[in-house]
């Protein structure tokens, strides 16, 4: 139960972590609000991947605070997946027109 120390197993874990920290520091939510949102997701799906719950909590809080809707996020997610499809392997993926 003591694997090598790496702060983040996947790049997206690190990005999701940093998003919560940065949004808290900007004052979008208090850390208590964040803990409550994360705890609620963990309680709902205790066996789900930790960072999947972290991401859910972010999306819920961002919508609750009026910073972004599920519809906006779904459209952008789709745009990113399409951009990945269109990017030759090994090149950085960028979102066209942005």
């Amino acid at each position: 139960m003591n694997p090598p120390d790496r702060a983040f197993a996947e790049p997206w874990h690190a990005q999701a972590f940093a998003l919560a920290v940065a949004l808290h520091e900007r004052g979008l939510f208090s850390w208590s609000e964040w803990s409550q949102a994360l705890s609620a997701e963990i309680a709902r799906a205790p066996e789900r991947d930790y960072y999947a719950n972290w991401l859910e909590a972010l999306e819920v809080l961002i919508a609750a605070k009026g910073a972004g809707t599920r519809v906006e996020l779904a459209a952008l997610t789709q745009a990113w997946l399409e951009a990945a499809e269109a990017t030759p392997h090994g090149q950085p993926i960028v979102l066209p027109g942005r």
Binding site: A7, A18, L28, P46, A79, T87
Partner: protein, 201 residues
Amino acid sequence: MSEDHDHSELSPIAARVRALETLLTEKGYIEPAALDAIVETYETKIGPRNGARVVARAWVDPAYRERLRADATKAIAELGYAGRQGEHMAAVENGAGVHNVVVCTLCSCYPWPVLGVPPVWYKSHAYRARAVIDPRGVLAEFGVTLPRETEILVWDSTAEMRYLVIPERPPGTEGWSEERLAALVTRDSMIGTGLALGPST
């Protein structure tokens, strides 16, 4: 096994994170460079070596240990460790007949300035669910067996209070420098799922 692809791979969940980043950047809530700085901090600058220095100081300096007891947040800040998720710290000391274990039963509250981000097992359902009801069983899985008469205190972290376990100083380390002692202080020994290493390790 996956086939060869001539395009880049982006998992659906990684795409959701990118979507959040794009949206929040465009709306002016975040800056990508600030996110990178946060990641770099927790990947390279903040980790359990910080906590180990606090413990080693407490072992060699009784006055510091007293200050740690009286106001852990302030005493830890003396060594330069403060900030995010370390605003309200408590130090809990192991000693004769007492062993402390830290958990966050609801999510993953953890003292970032002294220990960095929590390990995977700390965030797992198994640990969060069992640490309170069967601490002895959990400790055994970590290879820690305590005398039957040792009392185990389990501390449930919250957004308002984070705990740092001060493990017992191993015997045979009399006269050691703080730096040498700090090398014996493992991350797990500061969560309570381990003990400090012995002098021969």
